[in-house]
């Protein structure tokens, strides 16, 4: 990696005031905070150590002490305050905050709003990025966050979309995330004895349970409904399928001229694949496995037939 003298200067100017407020920090942590190697940080420190004010006697140099990988600064000379932020730093922070605000609907959201206002008035920067998130707020978000941080199980009633059933299960929440428009929870599920993903808007009740009721009996986990290698053909009018389902795209094959795209998918629930492809009205074709392609055609025919006058 070739770094310019300017990049290094910028980092050095930021390092000194940071050190001043984080006395005794380890070089490893510094490397982490500044996103460079520990070796680089050490080289930076050696260099900074030689800088100072005209005269350059020990009294005028930046006074810094580092030993056994820990750093202290006792005299920063004129570098006692951080530099002002540049435009992209300000923008990134404002956008980060905008994003966080759209993810919350609880009391943290109102705190963020106050902070946003504070920064907007003082930074006076035109923010070129607008964040819009149509996430549906779930009343159970806070519960689930608490459960994750305490590693506590919860009992939920869940409407499963793919199996069309209502189940009650005890789960151990692991991770919450937003993908596209929906909020998901991945959790260890006692019922299936495996990790499962739940959509928050389909959880219709959620309560904490006693740890005593929570036994992790080991059952053999079942993945029988997963497909093997899948190859599909995608018309360019359906390319948003690729954008919306990045996680399952294994490979996009080289495209020849105006030919439709051939895409390989990783193993997924065949029910999901069938119903999703049906929703594209022929713009996506399943080439392999062939029997899924047939099943799709059969289902389409069956649904259409139900609308034929008897």
């Amino acid at each position: 990696m070739s770094e310019t003298a300017l990049d290094r200067t910028a980092r050095a100017l930021d390092l000194v005031p940071y050190l001043l407020e984080h006395q005794g920090i380890s070089t490893r942590e510094l490397a982490d905070v500044f996103g460079v190697s520990e070796k680089q940080i050490n080289e930076d420190l050696v260099l900074i150590h030689m800088c100072g004010l005209p005269g350059y006697t020990p009294l005028e140099l930046i006074d810094m002490y580092y030993e056994d990988g820990y750093v202290t600064v006792s005299d920063p000379q004129s570098l006692n305050k951080p530099r002002k932020m540049n435009r992209s730093e300000m923008t990134s922070l404002l956008v980060s905050l905008d994003l966080m605000a759209t993810l919350r609907s609880d009391e943290i959201a109102s705190e963020i709003a106050i902070l946003q206002e504070k920064l907007r008035t003082s930074l006076q920067v035109e923010n070129p990025i607008v964040v819009i998130q149509d996430a549906s707020a779930s009343p159970f978000l806070k519960n689930l966050e608490d459960a994750i941080s305490k590693s506590a199980p919860v009992r939920i009633i869940y409407l499963s979309g793919s199996k069309d059933e209502r189940t009650e299960r005890i789960i151990l929440p692991l991770e919450l995330y937003i993908d596209n428009k929906a909020t998901y929870l991945s959790a260890w599920c006692q019922k299936s004895n495996a990790d499962r993903t739940f959509r928050l808007d389909r959880i219709i009740s959620c309560e904490t349970v006693d740890l005593q009721n929570f036994t992790s009996t080991i059952k053999s986990s079942q993945n029988s409904f997963e497909t093997g290698q899948i190859i599909i053909e995608i018309d360019s009018a359906a390319r948003n399928f690729i954008e919306d389902n990045r996680a399952i795209i294994a490979k996009i094959r080289e495209r020849v001229g105006d030919q439709p795209l051939i895409v390989e998918l990783s193993a997924i629930d065949s029910r999901w694949l069938i119903h999703t492809v049906l929703g594209y009205g022929g713009l996506i074709k399943v080439l392999e496995p062939a029997q899924i392609g047939e099943e799709i055609a059969d289902k389409a025919a069956a649904i259409c037939a139900s609308y034929q006058p008897k």
């Binding site: 310019t4 530099r83 905050l97 993810l103 919450l176 428009k181 049906l278 009205g281 609308y307």
Partner: protein, 311 residues
């Protein structure tokens, strides 16, 4: 080599920051460590260094000085313009900001969010956290084009790029805003060929982005509201459908509909929807367990969509 230059730039910054009065160029060249060589070489070095520091956003003030200095200009970095000044942040606010800045993982927004946070953390505010923020965000990783677009918006230079669409490949656009919408990146702006405001998905820009040389070439309309250009939720455009649902099936659909009639095999529900295609895709999940009664165009659209999959 790089070491010597870095060292000199740091020393120059320190000296110009420390001084209250303007430093004469001759004072700088003879006193600041690192200026070596002939007078001419030193001066060239100093000119370059000034430009470099300015490119870092450091303001170097040039003073006309008083008569004693004759024509020699003087320099200094005013502390006020150098130092970060933000309103008093509480420890909790700082903690909120640093949590927020971590959403970007390894994307191109991450480094500047990280360095911004570092500066705030150098202000001596003790951060305090007493809440647990667990929500993660999965988003389309922005490409380097994002930088070009934000730069174009900042300096109001028109841009040109090729766009992956059926017609009119090359687009000339006055960029207004970048939209980060449901995890995807878009550009909204005036499409100069069509003379209309358009939205472009950044991942479908298939070329590099060329910025016109001219700056301040256009204006973003005052109070420009990007949201009003999005296909959006509007309760006035909701359509009501009557759907027959087989007993004990389509639980999610039942959950959000209103039961209007119970039958023997099927119950009839009224369900509102906004986007026809999205609703059809939802209905398809229940196969023959659901049946569209009304509106007729929804029914026809369903049959037509599915016909595409029949061999």
């Amino acid at each position: 080599m790089s070491d010597a230059k870095t060292e000199r730039l740091i020393n120059l910054t320190l000296a110009l920051l420390a001084t209250k009065r303007y430093l004469k160029k001759s004072e700088i060249l003879s006193n600041v460590f690192g200026y070596e060589g002939s007078q001419e070489a030193k001066e060239r070095m100093f000119e370059r260094d000034k430009d470099d520091l300015r490119s870092l956003g450091i303001e170097i003030e040039v003073g006309d000085l008083d008569i004693f200095f004759e024509d020699e200009p003087g320099y200094r970095i005013p502390q006020k313009s150098y130092e970060l000044s933000v309103p008093q942040l509480t420890g909790r606010e700082l903690a909120l900001l640093s949590i927020a800045s971590k959403h970007w993982n390894d994307s191109i927004l991450a480094p500047s969010a990280q360095s911004g946070i570092r500066k705030l953390q150098s202000l001596g505010i003790p951060a305090e956290v007493d809440f647990d923020f667990r929500m993660k965000y999965r988003f389309e990783n922005p490409t380097a084009l994002l930088d070009d677009i934000t730069r174009a918006i900042n300096q109001k230079s028109k841009i040109t790029f090729s766009y992956d669409s059926k017609k009119l490949q090359v687009r000339h656009v006055e960029a207004y805003r970048v939209l980060f919408w449901n995890g995807f990146w878009y550009l909204i702006g005036m499409d100069l060929d069509r003379q209309d405001i358009r939205i472009f998905k950044i991942s479908r820009i298939v070329s590099t982005i060329t910025l016109a040389k001219k700056k301040n070439d256009y204006q973003v309309p005052e109070n420009f509201d990007s949201k009003s250009f999005l296909p959006k939720s509007n309760p006035n455009i909701l359509t009501r459908a009557r759907i027959d649902i087989r007993k004990d099936t389509a639980l999610i659909l039942r959950n959000r509909g209103t039961l209007i009639q119970q039958g023997v095999e099927y119950d009839t529900f009224e369900i509102s929807y906004e986007n026809q295609l999205a609703f059809l895709r939802e209905l398809i999940w229940y196969e023959t367990n659901v049946k569209v009664i009304e509106p007729l165009d929804l029914r026809d659209a369903l049959v037509e969509l599915l016909s595409g999959s029949i061999r």
